[in-house]
């Protein structure tokens, strides 16, 4: 029994008929499985996982959900205004972020042999900033420049910039440089070469990145407002604080409808862009 178990972990050695010894290939799967099980147990202890409690007290959250399922329609005007604000915040933030990202991504891609030190520094800064969630930007900005839609827009723009620039420069590094070299050999300036030879190749990808960012920003808009940075999140926070869950229900309904519409449209457009 123990021997059987042992050769799961330790590779066997076989002796061939000519006396040569052959070792089986080492298989690390059992070790990975044991490690994962240990990790799960440790994490579960750490986070007090208790599904029995969850199923026992399942009805506790029910009143909240039921009240949200009966939206209060008289709140429609405020909800509509908040949603429009949110959409405009996402639009403007995405536009500014991606407009700055486009020229910057040319400077950050390694195939133009621009300044290498600058490239390395800027890239590592970007990867640090990318790890911070939008929430942190929104919190800091709304403290510094005041609560309101401006902070939300700025936070969205910064987040969009950090995400879009990485996707773009990785794409630019894979383009065909032949056209660029051909234009360069005719004596065109570097900027002109980039616009005429590289940009047409990444145009579709750029548009699809912008749409993707817009989608993400609409989705995170609820959180932005939650810390006071304008839009529908502010109303969500208010209504939950006042226990007006019927109003929350309406807000969530509007939010879900907009998110689904934006997502579906953007997916269709992106599919068209990628397939030409």
């Amino acid at each position: 029994m123990l021997k059987d178990l042992l050769h799961v972990f330790v590779p066997d050695t076989h002796t061939l008929s000519n006396g040569k010894k052959v070792k089986e290939k080492f298989n690390n799967t059992p070790y990975i499985i044991i490690f994962l099980i240990l990790l799960i147990v440790v994490c579960a202890v750490f986070t007090d996982v208790d599904f029995i409690k969850f199923f026992k007290r399942f009805t506790k959250g029910w009143t909240f959900v039921v009240r949200m399922l009966h939206p209060q329609w008289s709140y429609w005007d405020t909800a509509k205004q908040a949603m429009i604000d949110t959409i405009i915040i996402s639009l403007v933030g995405t536009a500014f972020g991606s407009l700055i990202a486009l020229p910057m991504s040319f400077y950050l891609s390694s195939n133009f042999k621009l300044n290498k030190a600058y490239l390395a520094v800027h890239r590592s800064f970007l990867s640090i900033f990318r790890t911070l969630p939008t929430l942190v930007y929104a919190l800091l900005l709304s403290l510094v420049i005041g609560y309101g839609t401006t902070a939300g827009t700025l936070a969205t723009a910064i987040f969009t910039y950090t995400v879009a620039v990485k996707m773009l420069y990785e794409n630019i590094e894979t383009v065909n440089m032949g056209a660029y070299e051909a234009l360069e050999s005719t004596g065109a300036s570097r900027a002109k070469c980039m616009i005429k030879a590289i940009f047409p190749q990444i145009k579709a990808f750029y548009l699809s990145t912008v749409l993707y960012c817009f989608e993400m920003n609409i989705r995170s808009a609820a959180i932005l407002g939650y810390v006071g940075a304008g839009g529908i999140g502010v109303r969500l926070n208010d209504t939950i604080g006042n226990m007006d869950y019927e109003k929350t229900g309406l807000l969530v309904l509007v939010l879900i409808i907009v998110v689904v519409i934006v997502e579906t449209t953007s997916r269709e457009i992106r599919k068209k862009l990628v397939n030409g």
Partner: protein, 272 residues
């Protein structure tokens, strides 16, 4: 064939960029109007400058005590908690997402099932994470367990979407070949479907784990555990040195995870 290629003729073939510039102009005007509508910003107040200066100064000088002590409100403990929440949340989310993904893949079930599944997923994805958090906190009380539940529900949507793509890409030829050689259904699943899917599914799950750790801050808004609550309180209370420590911890955790997950995913994709 007597046409000669002249510079003038070629030049006339140059694409007309007027429509592009008109579109650009309209775009800029619209953007300006929208910005004007949304920006209520009337210049920074004196207070704002002081705050910004303090914030940058504090964040660049993180509180070393918070960074290394093993107390419950200090960085190592909170990071471990955040990682645990994200890890278990992703795992439970994946377990929930797998049957859902099989149910709504067009090549396994019919179109009606697929559309129903996709609609449910869209609605689940549209529902804000914070609200899931609030609901689960109401059910199981504040603490990391609520965070695990929130994470699992909120990552289920995206996982399902990516898994559906993986399942719809499955090569049916392999299954037919196994069928022809007389395999049972179990053998077909074991040797025909699982090897094709496993690396894709694993890589999706690891990718989502990455995102979940990054997004775990949001759980702090509804007291569902993790580093988020402390981070938000430290910013609200203007304890910039603590805030710097938390941010530094978060950045390191995310960067390390990103590095590891990229390595594993590359290995899964190329088999090296």
């Amino acid at each position: 064939m007597s046409e000669k290629l002249t510079v003038k003729k070629q030049y006339e073939k140059y694409p007309n960029s007027l429509p592009f510039f008109i579109a650009l102009f309209i775009g800029i005007v619209v953007l300006y109007l929208l910005t004007d509508y949304i920006c209520t910003f009337k210049g920074m107040s004196e207070m704002g400058w002081v705050l910004a200066k303090n914030a940058i100064n504090g964040i660049l000088h993180p509180n070393v005590d918070k960074l290394f002590s093993l107390d419950e409100s200090c960085v190592p403990y909170l990071l471990a908690e955040t990682f645990s929440i994200a890890f278990l949340g992703t795992l439970v989310g994946a377990i929930l997402a797998l049957p859902f993904a099989f149910f709504s893949s067009r090549n396994i079930t019919n179109n009606v099932c697929a559309y129903t599944g996709l609609t449910i997923i869209s609605i689940l994805r549209g529902f804000p994470t914070v609200l899931y958090g609030i609901i689960f906190v109401k059910i199981v009380g504040t603490g990391p367990f609520a965070g695990v539940l929130t994470m699992s529900i909120s990552s289920m949507g995206m996982l399902t979407k990516l898994l559906i793509e993986a399942i719809e890409d499955v090569d049916k030829g392999v299954i037919e070949a196994l069928d022809a050689s007389g395999c049972t259904t179990f053998q077909k699943v074991r040797y025909g479907i699982i090897p094709q899917l496993s690396s894709n599914i694993l890589s999706t799950i690891i990718y989502r784990l990455d995102i979940n750790v990054k997004n775990a801050t949001v759980l702090g808004l509804c007291a569902a555990g993790g580093i988020g609550a402390e981070l938000i309180f430290s910013i609200g209370g203007r304890r910039w040195n603590d805030c710097g420590a938390y941010l530094l911890g978060l950045v390191i955790l995310v960067l390390v995870l990103e590095f590891v997950s990229t390595k594993i995913r590359r290995k899964l994709a190329t088999g090296e």
